[in-house]
Symmetry: C2
Subunit: 643 residues, 2 copies
Amino acid sequence: MGKITAHELAKKQKEISVAEFFERNKHILGFGNQTRALITSVKEGVDNGLDACEEANILPDIYVEIKNHEDGECKIIIEDNGPGVVKKQIPHIFGRLLYGSRFHAIRQSRGQQGIGISAVVLYGQLTTGKHAKIISKVDEDRPAIITELAIDTNKNRAEVINKDTTHWEKPCGTRVEVSIIADYKRGKRFVYDYLQSTSIVNPHAQIIYKEPDGTEYIFERTSETLPKKSVEIKPHPYGVELGTLIKMSKHTKSRKLSSFLKTEFSSMGDRTTKSALEKANLDKDLNPKEMSRDQFLALHKAFKKVKIMAPSTDCLSPIGETLIKRSLKHETQEISPEFIITASRPASVYSGNPFQVEVGLVYGGNLPKEETVKILRFANRVPLLYQQGGCVTTQAISSIDWRRYGLNQPSGKGIPSGPAIFLTHVSSTLIPFTSESKEAIADVTEIENEIKLAFRECARKVQHHIHKEVKRAKTREKFDLITKILPEIAKKSANILDKPVPSLDPIITKIMDVVWIEDLIEYEKIKREPVQTTLVGVTPTDDKGGTITKSRIMVVNYKQTPQKLNLYAVIPQDAIVGTVTPKPSKITNNYIKWNLETIPPANKIDINFELAGLEKGDFDENDLYIENINPTFVIGADKWEGD
Amino acid sequence: MGKITAHELAKKQKEISVAEFFERNKHILGFGNQTRALITSVKEGVDNGLDACEEANILPDIYVEIKNHEDGECKIIIEDNGPGVVKKQIPHIFGRLLYGSRFHAIRQSRGQQGIGISAVVLYGQLTTGKHAKIISKVDEDRPAIITELAIDTNKNRAEVINKDTTHWEKPCGTRVEVSIIADYKRGKRFVYDYLQSTSIVNPHAQIIYKEPDGTEYIFERTSETLPKKSVEIKPHPYGVELGTLIKMSKHTKSRKLSSFLKTEFSSMGDRTTKSALEKANLDKDLNPKEMSRDQFLALHKAFKKVKIMAPSTDCLSPIGETLIKRSLKHETQEISPEFIITASRPASVYSGNPFQVEVGLVYGGNLPKEETVKILRFANRVPLLYQQGGCVTTQAISSIDWRRYGLNQPSGKGIPSGPAIFLTHVSSTLIPFTSESKEAIADVTEIENEIKLAFRECARKVQHHIHKEVKRAKTREKFDLITKILPEIAKKSANILDKPVPSLDPIITKIMDVVWIEDLIEYEKIKREPVQTTLVGVTPTDDKGGTITKSRIMVVNYKQTPQKLNLYAVIPQDAIVGTVTPKPSKITNNYIKWNLETIPPANKIDINFELAGLEKGDFDENDLYIENINPTFVIGADKWEGD
């Protein structure tokens, strides 16, 4: 073997088209095997449909159909009632990788890469040699466009095979039909699971799913309100890379550094800008296009030294406590877990991208005790079904020592075993997925830390919950004993002495020496008023659920002196407060507060409030706090720590 | 919020450059955090250097240096003695993503994407704003070229900042200098580990590593022979996708279907081609460019019905049993494990890509018993350090029930715990990595199955080994008892009866009633002859190691009748056989065979053989088999099952 020269090797060096790259590396896009190929195809189509509808302020109606042929070929049909795609853009959106509208916008969306749906078309063509069929209607008064296309992978461009108009009964929308080789038998269950989970965290969407045998599932819309639309924002100076800063300076229209900072970044007001420039020792009138690397470096370092307001969270759309609980309840149907606890972190930033972590935890009941805990993962309201082992979520959970929270975990690392389900949702303007298949979140330190903090908070709440239960159980035992035995003794003694049976209230009060708070939650079904279906579905909020949640709280003074206290009942942010008795002193988004004046010994006060906008079970336990009283005297509520 | 139309949305839809895509999604390339960024950068540089040298038939000398500045900036320098890169190609190779020579070739190499090294340049520019510096020398007689470049991410093209010639003492090679933001303190250990592992499985490479504080590590070359060069092959018909088949037909120069099949595919001879065309009911003279989808479909289906020879494994370069053992030994220094076992599967195919799985297993010794087993992963001779949880390797291991092999594994799934280390190596013309960062292998069913089969084989060998040990131990106990107690009894009895002590050999033989085989391995250091350093380093093979491995086997006949048998000693494929006594009847790549004629009762035969080309410890246990004798009579060897 002789030496081979650089000149000989140079002949082989050439460009690789991105479509060609992914054609060969289809596993990177989530098409590594035929089961996954099925789920990925459905997922990309549905994500696309949901994004399109939400972007156009339309309540999503998604239709998914799978036709399964005997030779392993599946036809996937996905239809939405979104705005449609204009004729000229159809070949680009569906027949070209790395093309789209969501990549350059900083706001939360499901798709962010401009790869997903064209990847499905590419996979279909690779495995079945068939073209994709796209129907798009953008205007109620004009016919739909039907396009048959393939992808020329050497060029990464669509090849339009056929184009025509057609009648379509929908006012607007998009329908994609792709034939792929897939394992329907194995994938079936996952498709259903994926659609169901998607429906739970997207209650504003209706999803209809038709299986090959004709079975049709309807995942009903349970909320007529679109989630708060995520707003497009500018990059935040914290965590912006030096290279990005320099690149931005080249493309800005601002001629002065100060206006560059104020117009191209979020959270940069006059004061912050001035302060950053001072720290960087830079003149505000510098032309950003003429600045040196060292000047940018100084500016970049100055960002970190100045207190800059956190990025606006308008660009994020978290799932919220109620939906997380509902999702977890769904996973634990007929398992009657002991409790469900959630925690939500404030928004944070990594590499200039805002993100927010929400977690939930179910514990106990009939959940299997021997197996590792189940982990449910969501990113931007999309369930993640694969690559659990490679996800930062798993890494964060594995790094917490769960043994002290009663779970089994050899050597205090790894996924714990025990009767629990963990849920995480990361929302971000840019989810750092480990690959284009969007199945796992990369181990970005900032995200890992937030997930850990959220679960630690959950774990603390769990301990707190257990502690409260234990305390209450002990007191109840004492109480039961007193109320059974004391009257017996009193009766017997009175009999012997031939005296009347004395009132025991003061004695019971003396022995108990606590304020006892007990509560109960009931649900009442209400008739749903007929709703006028509109495309832009902002309907009255009390129509959200069909259930009124009724909470009853009883405060008994078992102390020897009159007591007064303030009581707080925490309520879900998305609940609507109805009747409240007695009159509260304050109602906020988060709680109802009562100033309870002077409860005489052995007396009680009944408190009632109603919540609308929740489903049965969304709110199933009161979270009560007290103020202006020594908390050690109170059973059933904790010290209020402030808003 | 009003409805937003497709026309409004269309304004935002645009192309995304691949560099821009990865700039934003740098975590996909393995730059998700600053620790990983360091390791990824070193890895991409070293992989590139090794590939370049091997491609040009040069024994690799790789130099790695890291300079660490206080503000988290690291300068990474990687130098090879490869063929260099021609001037014109430098901006493309280092300043453009998806450009290279290895993507379009079907053969095993480390890099396959044309992304790695330009990704390092991109990350450097993003985080430090500094340019990369490339020195390349392609010809001993001409000066080196020094190029300073950046990447214009909007265009995915290099921006050459500066170009000049310079003196470089090397005859040829490439040197890359990139400044990146990285966490040296945390990453330090991993860089060392990565280089060490790389050196072990690439014994033909010398790697010098200089740390920021000046410490220099030299991972010496231990083999002067380049690994068998992997040969470029054509796609194999098994597993080729229908879409790929159609695409190939469009680009072929063949005008007839039969010649298309014979020239564009591997393993398609006259007979196979004829047979496939018959099954597909297609005329051999069809013009492939004019065939319909249905005709290709028929052909595609016919491929699966015809017996086609497995793809040539010339395109693969497995690590081999000896290096796997050496690597595992290295991991268990001073741990004295009970045994190391390896298994190697025959080459197989997924989606038309040949691949091969090798595995190894260490058990026992001082390895921690409580922790989950350690998993070492390699792909195309590159150690994989991250994303273990997302790797098919882990999935395959987790799906085996290890409890019956003595490891702890709750519910029979998941990574087992116990004193063991598992190693896997997958070699392929196209490793299906889960992402461009090349850290984990996707869950391709065919690969998963091969890994499972390999580990099952290992596990069986473990059981077998344990079984053999137990059997031998029992017999030895018996033997010890007999040889201690019987002589005592004989002596006492003889004394009492005043008779001479009788010979016990026939009695011992009668009680033992086995053929006993025992063995011993010793190593002898030999003087290394001076080697003439040449660029194309094919040097005499007996110089590979500096050690002679001496194996001594003793066969004792403890049966009452004379015995004859054939004995096989299995030897590593890469060992060179030296002196053998007595004269063997056969020597192959895999074993030495002796026909042992008539060993009288209570007699023994001594067998010796020497192996060169191995390091001390590479061969540390004889693997012995017997033939032409009832295996139940033999202790220390098993039945020969054929080649």
